[in-house]
């Protein structure tokens, strides 16, 4: 907007700066804490400038974990989280895009019913169905496995719905032109619909990856084997050190590491968005 109202400009800038401050300050403090030796966090005065122990702290955490809390190396937990988040994101996208394709492009009996059944599952997030889901996963012998961590979270009404809305905006003539060009249903999906959905897939991937990465309750339930702990639940366990003060410097280092992958995904995928937006002129 090109408006010349100086007070409005000043006011909006102040609000924005405050917002940035509120968001960034805790992260900054966490970062600072992760660079100090153990005792400076316990002295009662929170330092505001980075200390000199950064490399040591991060190396300890990544390599051997937080000793006092008996945790496994953070590297392993990062890997577990990464695998889980990736499986959830990819699985959700794969299943929901296929489901949306079926609902939009095929006439089959009970099509409407299928759509509504999928839609209704929006009302049943993991937390609501956690006991039966746990029962199923346990009886399928999937506790303490990547499958157990990800499969129950894969079905996604939201993503199905988003893809459906997108497919409805694709002109019908495109499907007809493809039919005349001799593309069967699978070819049409692969050659035309999938490339056209690229931007949507990228956007959903970011959202779903972060959704997967941030899972807390479910991993807490299905993993008893330390080898499958994810980082988000791992941080919480570090606080439960027995007979000792929490090792704040190492916990903060772990937190910083836990924040990194989602940030990287956003930064990396942002370039894809922009590219997609530029290319997809209609």
């Amino acid at each position: 907007m090109v408006e010349n109202r100086p007070w409005l400009t000043v006011f909006s800038h102040v609000v924005l700066c405050l917002g940035v401050l509120v968001t960034a300050l805790p992260i900054w403090i966490a970062f600072v804490a992760s660079t100090h030796p153990a005792d400076s966090m316990l002295s009662g005065r929170t330092p505001l400038l980075p200390g000199g122990n950064m490399l040591e702290n991060y190396a300890t955490v990544l390599g051997s974990g937080v000793k006092a809390a008996g945790s496994i190396p953070v590297g392993t937990m990062l890997w577990n989280s990464f695998v889980m988040a990736l499986m959830i994101a990819v699985g959700k996208i794969a299943i929901s895009i296929i489901a949306a394709y079926a609902i939009v492009y095929f006439r089959f009996p009970l099509r409407k019913t299928c759509f509504w059944v999928i839609f209704i599952t929006l009302m049943l997030p993991v937390e609501v169905r956690i006991l039966p889901t746990f029962g199923v996963v346990a009886s399928l012998d999937m506790l303490n496995s990547y499958w157990g961590l990800s499969v129950p979270l894969i079905a996604s009404a939201t993503a199905t719905f988003l893809f459906r809305q997108f497919f409805l905006t694709v002109p019908e003539e495109l499907a007809e032109a493809a039919r005349i060009d001799g593309a069967g249903p699978l070819k049409f999906f692969r050659d035309i619909l999938l490339p056209l959905s690229r931007t949507n897939i990228a956007a959903l991937f970011v959202i779903l990856f972060i959704f997967g990465w941030n899972q807390y309750l479910w991993p807490l339930l299905v993993t008893t084997d330390e080898g499958f702990y994810t980082i988000v639940m791992g941080i919480q366990r570090m606080l439960q050190a027995e007979d000792a003060e929490p090792a704040w410097h190492e916990i903060m280092a772990t937190s910083m590491l836990a924040m990194l992958p989602p940030v990287l995904v956003v930064v990396f995928m942002q370039r894809l968005f922009v590219k997609g937006l530029i290319e997809q002129e209609k």
Binding site: P171, E173, E176, R179, I180, P195, L196
Partner: protein
């Protein structure tokens, strides 16, 4: 190459809409047939049945000698050009044209040859690497044509391919399509609601109304002898004047409602009695001296187009519904309120039965 045949073709949509009420016609090999009619009359439906995008409820469609009712669109050997072009937005111009050929497992060098040839014909050479989004409307239109040409089909199907272009480009593309079709000699079905497009492109014209083919014939046959009131009013611009009246007692003319004189053109023998509708095209009414006039019109409004002027008026003592439009030479000055005396050549007077709208012959 092959002709096309409709035998008793009907279409009822699943929701019960009866879109086509029985079409019988044969399109001969290499012929350019234009389907014209008002919105919703079933033009697209008919075309889409040929393409295989809609099922045929009843009757048979043949391409060449073969019944194609049950064939998939890709197996019918047709190519279609859509109104919004339906180009694949993520593919280059080359890939857009090549896609159908690749799906039919055409050898690579053959694809390259055909695309290059089509690009040459359509002046698309420099644009093969671009995406549809980076082209102008006219260029997209050409790519859509190119995609049809490279298939080397038995028939081209066009569904209002020019209606998204501006007026000037439309005229230019119209000529190009005609030239191209002549050069390739491919049987073509072309849907439009623009009657100028219809008249200029067609070898033969199908005028449709509400799911029925009202008349099938060459553009001039239809212009000279419209078979129904609907066709008479639809083909020709500005539209034909319709005047109602009664057959004169001696059968040698018609007494038009609201006119002083009897129009001295004998209605055909089949209309010896009663009410009648007389049709005269605006361009066939000629200003003459008062004594020789067949009609007198009070001028209400004049639209000067330059080369000629459209004069809108009423029959001199006309009541309701006696509006008349006349096309006069642009050099002639006509003012509102003036009374124009007009004559018409007998062969340019059309008679219709007002009850069923059929031409009286």
């Amino acid at each position: 190459m092959a002709g096309l045949e409709f035998v008793g073709v009907r279409k009822t949509y699943p929701n019960g809409v009866k879109a086509i009420h029985g079409i019988d016609m044969a399109v001969s090999d290499g012929e350019f047939v234009v389907i014209v009619g008002p919105s919703g009359c079933g033009k697209s439906t008919l075309l889409r049945m040929v393409a295989g995008l809609e099922t045929v409820t009843e009757g048979e469609i043949r391409i060449g000698e073969n019944r194609v009712n049950e064939l998939e669109p890709a197996d019918r050997n047709i190519a279609m050009v859509f109104q919004n072009y339906a180009l694949y937005p993520h593919m280059s111009v080359f890939d857009n044209m090549a896609y159908g050929l690749r799906n039919r497992r055409t050898p690579r060098d053959e694809i390259a040859r055909r695309v290059a040839e089509a690009a040459g014909t359509l002046q698309l050479e420099g644009l093969l690497d671009r995406r549809p989004g980076q082209l102008s409307g006219g260029q997209r239109q050409r790519v859509a044509m190119g995609r049809a040409i490279v298939r080397e089909p038995e028939a081209f199907l066009f569904d209002e391919p020019l209606s998204n272009l501006d007026a000037k480009l439309r005229v230019q593309m119209r000529l190009e399509i005609k030239r191209l079709q002549r050069a390739l000699g491919t049987t073509s079905l072309y849907v439009t609601h623009d009657q100028v497009e219809a008249m200029t492109l067609a070898d033969r014209l199908i005028v449709m109304n509400a799911g029925v083919a009202e008349q099938i014939g060459t553009p001039l046959e239809i212009y000279d002898a419209p078979a129904t009131l609907f066709v008479a009013g639809f083909i020709g611009s500005p539209a034909m004047n319709f005047l109602s009246g009664t057959v004169a007692d001696d059968g040698a003319g018609a007494n038009l409602d609201g006119a002083e004189r009897t129009l001295l053109v004998a209605p055909p023998a089949s209309a010896r009695r009663g009410r009648i509708t007389v049709g005269i095209r605006p361009e066939h009414l000629e200003p003459v001296s008062r004594e020789t006039a067949a009609l007198e019109v009070v001028v209400e409004l004049v639209e000067a187009l330059g080369a000629d002027s459209l004069v809108h008026g009423q029959l001199a003592d006309g009541g309701e519904g006696a509006a008349v439009t006349v096309r006069v030479d642009g050099a002639r000055r006509v003012a509102a309120g003036e009374v124009l005396s007009l004559a018409v050549a007998p062969n340019h007077v059309h008679f219709f039965d007002p009850d069923d709208g059929k031409r009286l012959a």
